[in-house]
Symmetry: D2
Subunit: 391 residues, 4 copies
């Protein structure tokens, strides 16, 4: 909580990413009973807004449980004992998904690349060609710890040709960069606390008709369980009971976030993320640091991963930035722990001043820890990039 004493907290992390006043006002609404007609109407409206935001023709699923829960539920539902799954690994999140998938699949095959790179779609094609029995392909759209993107459109096209279904982790891309869930046949999972600026506690799923059929045919798919996504299909229908009480406040918050997203317009939202990303990417080298992702073409517009200088622990940098500048950065994940942190510029954290705030706090913290950082140059570079990106 911020106070006058502490000033505001700037959450430039990778989710949750803060919240707008409109979202907070929505969260403060009275907690209705979940069968109250006012809540049922709110829920149905939220599903409709989410479908419009997804750009899909089928109703999405609002699954109670943070993104990690939604990904587990999706995996448990889709991956059956006969499935051979190709797992595309370009980072920590992809790697972790493989471990999860092994619980359910007959076999998990992986294609892997360095964690500062992306998978070439052709590698996916080669893998599918080698193993015609692959039924599912899992891809992380945006590898948050690395700040990198996989080319989902190309991978989806290749996968579609093979007849396999996709499981896409679009958690930290949806809402900040284009996502074509309708064409990515299978399941895509995202969440409110990223580019939408909502609360953690829900997963937002697109499930294609083919995916629903695959789930129906999976004898091991969770049913009558907290992890069953089938139970939450079609619950926007007033006569369909919820499997259990949904998170009333989170739904209020989600509706508000979706309204804000649609009022802004996806194209404008994407541009806003791109501008913030451009400014941060310009500022990092000027600060004297290295961008983690190998290539600008694969850098995410929703966060920027930054390599720390030798001898500087990213956890300490983040602690100083938070304590002295009120800026919350992200980092500390898996194999990149200690070396790579992220400036998030997602959802409500992607605004004109956020790159300057993030870079200044980062530079200040580096200096406190004895490293060099040219903050002035970084701010100038960020401003120059913003000038360009708005032109």
């Amino acid at each position: 909580m911020s106070s006058a004493a502490a000033g505001p907290v700037f959450t430039l992390a990778t989710g949750p990413v803060g919240s707008t006043p409109a979202t907070q006002a929505a969260l403060a609404q009275p907690v209705l009973h979940h069968t109250d007609p006012a809540f049922r109407a709110l829920y149905a409206e939220t599903v409709a807004l989410l479908r419009e935001s997804f750009g899909t023709s089928a109703d999405p699923v609002i699954f109670p449980g943070e993104a990690v829960v939604g990904i587990e539920a999706a995996a448990a539902a889709l991956i059956g004992p006969d499935d051979v799954l190709l797992n595309v690994v370009s980072g920590i999140y992809g790697k972790a998904f493989g471990q999860l998938a092994r619980r359910f699949a007959r076999e998990v095959i992986e294609v892997e690349t360095a964690y500062n790179a992306s998978i070439a779609p052709a590698e996916v094609g080669d893998a599918l060609a080698r193993r015609a029995d692959i039924t599912l392909v899992a891809v992380v759209h945006c590898e948050t710890p690395s700040g990198t993107m996989n080319d989902l459109d190309a991978i989806a096209e290749i996968t579609a040709r093979s007849g396999a279904l996709l499981i896409v982790d679009a958690v930290s891309s949806f809402g900040g960069m284009p996502t074509d869930f309708e064409q990515w046949n299978g399941i895509a999972i995202t969440a409110p606390q990223k580019c939408l600026g909502g609360t953690p506690g829900l997963s937002l799923l697109h499930v294609s008709d083919d995916a629903w059929r695959h789930i129906a045919a999976n004898p091991n798919a969770p049913r009558g369980s907290a992890l069953s996504i089938e139970g939450w299909r079609d619950v926007r229908q007033p006569d369909r009971p919820f499997p259990f009480t949904p998170s009333v406040s989170d739904v209020y918050g989600l509706r508000s976030c979706l309204q804000q997203y649609l009022a802004e317009g996806p194209a404008n939202a994407f541009r806003r993320h791109r501008q913030a990303a451009g400014a941060v990417r310009a500022g990092v080298p000027a600060l004297g640091l290295h961008l983690w992702a190998a290539d600008d073409a694969i850098r995410s517009d929703t966060m920027t991963a930054i390599e720390m200088p030798d001898g500087v622990d990213e956890a300490e940098v983040r602690a100083v930035a938070r304590a002295e500048s009120g800026v919350m950065l992200a980092g500390g994940q898996g194999a990149l722990r200690g070396r790579v942190l992220q400036i998030g510029h997602m959802g409500p954290a992607a605004y004109p001043m956020s790159p300057v705030i993030g870079l200044t706090a980062l530079g200040h913290a580096l200096r406190r820890l004895g490293a060099k950082a040219d903050v002035g140059a970084a701010v100038e570079a960020a401003l120059a990039a913003s000038g360009k990106s708005t032109a």
Copy 2:
């Protein structure tokens, strides 16, 4: 959402039960990152407040997932393939637990009574005596659909003598009536959206040391999964990462609810529930209806189950009460569907005027549907009972 046009919604249901202004203000706080030091401090403080509210010496578990999820997680954790579980059934919720337990247990044995009665503790003793291999006993403290209580203190004592552990569903009793989690050796599960007046989305668990040991010895207990309660043990320690992002807003709300509960004091909270219950119980016969629970001694102070007259569908009654009086009642559950509804008087819904509001709305709805209801007499009886109970 209420508006000036519609007036307030009186949520006299069995959870969620509305929310106080203080709780709503807490929900409106900015969505912090879950690793932010301010959130870590908030979380640790919330765990401490919950332990104080539970009256236990061990830290409770704040499990992300509504009560139904928490019950499934507790069952999956505690009930192993070697366990023989005695399931005590006095209502719909107890019956459902038996089905869940069969997924995990070697064997489930049941003692059962009519759904408007409670289990005599001696029956539990008899069952334990018959089967010395019983390792776990499951009991619903308050059977919400029936509005009835089981005598947990007595059952816990008997169970303790046998060496078995308890699984107690205290979801709709904790905070409104005494619960002695420290003495009920095993796991007790409750939730914020009942007598605490919080949001649905979390489960609140007491797990005794013996229960933690039993879980550790269960080879099938979920681990590395959304359903793992072990992952959420001790996460109030600043150096322990959360298994995944907790529901930031729900934790804000929970802290506020616990602060309000402790400021009022449990004894005062129990008295407030008892007074509301007394008024409703007095009003129902005066209205011309029958209380569902067979005996006053087993009636819950947190809700009152009411039998509808022949030919009157409780769902229709509730619809009219909501549409014309703005009063949301509960009902429609399992075998009691159509026949029995509940007036909830839980948490923020247990206040001096709530019995009058509930009885009037109920009586008005019955008349609209062609049944008789003496609303004036019911209000008078409720007032008379309140007078007595405050004396």
Copy 3:
């Protein structure tokens, strides 16, 4: 503030009258600088919504200062040293206005009636006929302490024929009953904290073109002062500076209240007030009490004044109702102090259950103080009246 312990506070008073969740959410928005373009847009939108709500062609004035301040400012502006003012007195508020007017006017003439009656429009006509030099006529539309209405449409027509201008106190009528500001030539004053359900702190004024001219010609009208209404004319124009910083939060609240009012529709709002009034008026005699206003035709739909039985102090009744039932009634004004209290049913306090809540709390308090009250009969009468009024 309500808490779980105390339950909600039912504000059935004569302003402030509580607030809806939507209004409260509006009040929680960040406090912008008053010259911020977002605030200027908010202000201009609020003026437009108020004009629409007033049903007038000219822009209204949002004057910073509670209704009493706005009435003083309006009197000071309109009443000049050459003015002869006819003051229509049918209650405490009208009487007080005469005292205020004497500070500014050459002469104040009064027509007066009993405080449980209304002025016959013909009496106004007679007075105007007797004194052709009357330039201003002051009327309280709804006499709050008495719960009575003056027939403003008739008085306005008579006044218009004489060429005089009106000063109308429409504080507790606007938004709950029809008000024809466009036809009532002069100044009409109302406020947000009555039938709109807003915050106290602003006055809302309609000033006709003739009234603006009269003000401009008044040498003593406050100018360059906190009491100058001229300074707040046209400040919705972006290039016009505010005389001083307006109440940012109150404007947020007002916009929300006006949006809610217009979304409901004035006709629906009036019907809602009429229904609540009808139920309370039916319930009072059933309770065994007397309505203060002599005649149903002059009773306000926004509050009901009730005479206490001999020996019962209304202040004590209100104290018990608040302490034991959480119901805040109004009363304690001037000559009626001790004898007459009011149940308010204004704005968000006019909803289906509010008459039952008010009558029950009143009856309960009377009994506590040793008086008789047939609460059951009162509730039945209120329900019966509601049935009629919705038919």
Copy 4:
């Protein structure tokens, strides 16, 4: 209102100055009736907190009306037809007070200095020596448009020796810099929307016993009027009626602001303002601009006035800063219009990152308008100054 699209608005102005989440939550509380016991308790608590914050022994007055209204009311109360007032003028606000005082005083004498300087206390002494009939001395503690301070402690001592009373405008100093109201015998006026981070709509007055006596002896002091401060004396006593309905929401907000202020501690608050001021003052020359105030010793810690380069209109600079960076600066006042703007660092706007945000937005806007600005150097200078000031 900010939205995800627009990002947050940084209000670095001279009041209102934004609001903390805690303050906003307080504003969202239900609008109670002003005679409700809960509101009376809230009001009394707020008066006590304000007295503690003022560091005075007498109860302060919470006067309904923005600071400009409170200053007019204080002047009207204190300045009688026999009073000779010495007006100390070092800026636009002091000059304006002289015009106001002439309405009430027998005579107004002025000592004046350049608007980028402060009055030497000795000049006040000389004036008092010249005219032994001076009964009142008016001083603006912090001249907001100029960002300059007058030495009130010295002036108060000199004034006390002469037996005159003070009228102190402490609106934009209280809460950000030391104010010794107990020693400044007379009236001091401040407001919530400055260093406390509250809403505009209230004035906060300290009135010494001598000042109350002076008011009582003033035959022209407003009585029975919206401008009467006497009516609001002692209204924290439960048996004293409010002259009219106070601004319920503003009082909620004020209580919260005072709680935050006292929790932080005045000394810490002053240090926080001093650090922000130091960083901005270091950054302005580095940006290539001139500080308006002639001398560091007289610069306010609550805002910094900055002279624009020739040919650059401060209004245009502010418009660009708001539109492109979301930063709201202040300016546009009186004789300084067009030439001087202010970066506010008051209350919740005085935090570690606010100088960087303000300087960057200012520099960016200057460039857009064709002027030079070394943003990088300014940020570096601000960081360097922060380093020093925390040392």
